[in-house]
Symmetry: C2
Amino acid sequence: MSGLIFRQLIDLDSSTYTYILADSDSLHGIIIDSVLGNIERDLQTLHDLGIKLQWILETHVHADHITGAYQLREKTGAKIGMGKATNLVCADQLFDEGEKISFGSQQLSVIATPGHTNGCTSYYLKDFAVFTGDTLLIRGCGRTDFQEGSSEKLFNNIRKKLFTLPDETLVYPAHDYNGRTCSSIGEEKKFNCRLKLSNSLESFSEIMKNLKLDEPKNLHKAVPANINCGKI
Amino acid sequence: MSGLIFRQLIDLDSSTYTYILADSDSLHGIIIDSVLGNIERDLQTLHDLGIKLQWILETHVHADHITGAYQLREKTGAKIGMGKATNLVCADQLFDEGEKISFGSQQLSVIATPGHTNGCTSYYLKDFAVFTGDTLLIRGCGRTDFQEGSSEKLFNNIRKKLFTLPDETLVYPAHDYNGRTCSSIGEEKKFNCRLKLSNSLESFSEIMKNLKLDEPKNLHKAVPANINCGKI
């Protein structure tokens, strides 16, 4: 992807992926889904690459880790942005469907993808990748049984807004618990066992209803902190 | 990188990175540093991407995990390749400095980089990246205190063979224990605290002598298995 600096980082405790993107000319950059425990690493990475951070973006209010957003804003002066339906007053800007987020000559498009949570947002960089948070995971998707989750919304948003992106678009999710770092829209349309094109909404809802997942282990610490952008 | 399929995968137990590369026309591909416990994941990835595996490459005889090379050869018929100085009879081919490894229209160059172990080998894909194994890590390097290690060899090979690659060459190592997935030659020349250009061989050797590292926890299981290409 010419003109773009791109780094994927992992939180080894929660298998959360953090992404740094920057325009290679202006060095204006953004970070998506930072983790509080890793901000020294991330600040060092920004420093070494010479990136001037413009935006600290969240794909949603995470339930499994505390975001580094608040601390990163304190240390860099960048603005916090997330999806409009999060309604979080701690954010500097809440982005609605179709809005653009610019950094240098690069531009992300905001795609509202509620379903895992109501405020879930994906960020799309044309001709490169979509950052899907917990909406679309590699061969899976986020749970829909808490925090205003909805299997129907998740299914329809993935099918109508993500699976309509070009097949070669890389999918960079918020997590992968099997150590895979990315996928593509074309692959997920074929091989996502929950959401592939041959599955119906009914079969998807049935799968999601029967997952019987444990509560995320950091839920009661993470969500209260994250509705304050990670201020604790 | 046009014409190339590229996937980085992580072993979450040992923070080992596995790499899959393929030519997007012929779909002939290779895998670098597979981990035995992940071969079902890796075979699935190869299947989903339609890749016909040609080579199973190792950067060296690992001491911290058992390679998946033997099992992958059994299941795919691909050949095992590694550095000449490993002297391993289980390999199908031992590659010497400057040899080329082709997959479709793509070509890796073999760079002998002894120092961490005597058989350490880096694989370079022009205009894209170098896969450095434990020779050059992100802001670090492999230990030099066992398995025929040599600080002098490591220093000279990194300085003369890796740091002479173009600055924009991405560095994909065998591990990162801080969740960083890649670096670049330009960054390491500036910011690698052991090997940056302002450090001398003497100061490097002094750093390496004083690391006082514990033995790798899987040493006595991994090395005997890996000198048989992971056959157990």
